[in-house]
């Protein structure tokens, strides 16, 4: 099985080998291997049931692979995940934060869980950067979808992670808020030199944020490359058209 690997000499930040996940009789992820280079933003792209969320879940350690291995920052996640969890974080629409706690209380709890050195200062900084000030002392359950996304992003950045995993980071957001969130992610990656892996359905988001796309279909990697390279390879104008070609079983022209 060829390994999907990005160019670069530094050791990969995330390395998956022969990763496979079977739920009962359904093969969700089918022996995929890839490396994610440091300081890159990579998208896992695919239709519903392609295996994106399962792959991210396995990288986070929330789902145990049926077989195969995952290394993050040089650490085998199956055996030593607690060595690196403080250097990672994630955001997912499938996960929420306690609704009764205020935003400040939530962030303070997560600062404690991640061992953040100056929690008050860090929360103030995030509040400034992500414009949380106006609702910092409101219960998280009373926020709008856009505000919740900003809070979830603040939680994901609370420990200034080197590795950020995002599952559909702008799902259910209006275009203006989604654009705002993408800008913050770009800023964060640039400032922190972070590595970002995201799963998305949004092609314009992927084209804007990502320097690499791993295309998944039925749990397998069907293509891999820079967004523009894939567009050129398929002879299309947009990544969305490439996505449709792959989803409908039309391969790249030879």
């Amino acid at each position: 099985m060829p390994i999907a690997q990005s160019a670069g000499e530094a050791p990969p930040v995330i390395s998956a080998r022969s990763l496979r996940k079977i739920f009962k009789r359904t093969v969700a992820v089918d022996s995929i291997s890839f490396d994610i280079a440091a300081r890159s933003t990579t998208a896992l792209l695919g239709g519903n049931g392609a295996g994106k969320t399962t792959t991210i879940g396995m990288i986070m350690g929330l789902i145990l692979p049926t077989s195969g291995s995952i290394n993050v920052l040089g650490v085998d996640m199956a055996r030593e995940r607690y060595r690196v969890l403080a250097r990672m974080n994630f955001e997912s629409p499938y996960v929420d934060m306690p609704h009764r706690l205020t935003v400040r209380q939530n962030l303070s709890v997560f600062a404690g869980l991640y061992g953040v050195g100056e929690p008050v200062g860090r929360i103030a900084e995030l509040s400034r950067n992500l414009a949380l000030d106006e609702f910092l002392d409101r219960p998280a359950g009373n926020l709008s979808a856009g505000q919740k996304t900003r809070v979830a992003l603040a939680k994901a950045l609370i420990n200034d992670p080197e590795v950020l995993l995002l599952d559909e980071p702008t799902a259910s957001l209006d275009p203006d808020t989604a654009d705002w969130v993408r800008s913050r992610l770009e800023d964060y990656r640039r400032r922190r030199q972070a590595t970002i892996l995201l799963a998305s359905h949004n092609m314009s988001e992927v084209e804007r944020l990502c320097d690499r796309v791993i295309m998944l279909k039925a749990g397998r990697i069907v293509d891999d490359g820079a967004p523009q390279d894939l567009i050129d390879k398929f002879g299309r104008d947009t990544l969305e058209e490439v996505f449709l070609d792959i989803a409908r079983g039309r391969g790249a022209p030879s």
Partner: protein, 272 residues
Amino acid sequence: MSGTPLRRIGALIRRYLYVLRSSWPRLAELVYWPAIQMLTWGFLQSYINAQASAAGVTGRLAVAAGALIGALLLWDSLFRAQLGFSLSFLEEMWSRNLANLLMSPLRPLEFIAALTAMSVIRLVVGIIPVTILAFWFFGFNLWGLGAALVAFFVNLVLTSWAIGLFVSGLVLRNGMGAEAIAWSILFFVMPFACVYYPVSTFPSWLQWVAWSLPPTYVFEGLRALLVAHVFRADLMVEALAINIILLLTGVIAFLKLLDSARRAGSLLQMGE
């Protein structure tokens, strides 16, 4: 930057205290049910005592009735401590926050430690006002049991943790469908734990079942103390031995069920 275990445990305890603080009905509920139960059974005991006195029947009947409030308060302590553990865990499920915790540097044993601390905190908040009410209304001083009370409490709280661990593991593995078990499991145990009657009431084959449950030793110990004025340390040691086995089994079951939930991929989909 990963902090210390104590800081992580402290952060999680703070999270649960924020929830308690945020809602006065939740705080009131901690006291409400134990108080209602205690008043109901306390007045029943007063009535039985009065009837026994009027009929010139004193002695064992009156003493048995006298043990009611003590048994009730201890049973409620077991129930509240188990709920304190399980409900704190369920808070994570209700708020879909579990994946956030399990993806953080918080280790499962630290998670368990925070839940045990919350079990004690919720128990203390709930039971202290009720013991004061019991003294005020019926002159029953639970704190007057002294060192024996400590032994009773330790054993009951350990049992509550073991059950809480098992219930939480089941919810982890099977989702919110298993939530009802958290509320009902102790009522299944109750008839066999001989809360209000001695083990000798049972046929011999059922006595085996009773003696396999640590609370049985506590309630037998309570009766020995109130009726014969004897502290049965032997019962407390036996209960402690069974509790240690149960607690270890509970921890292993919780970790295994967590592992099983990871295998099933259910942690990302959990919630209300």
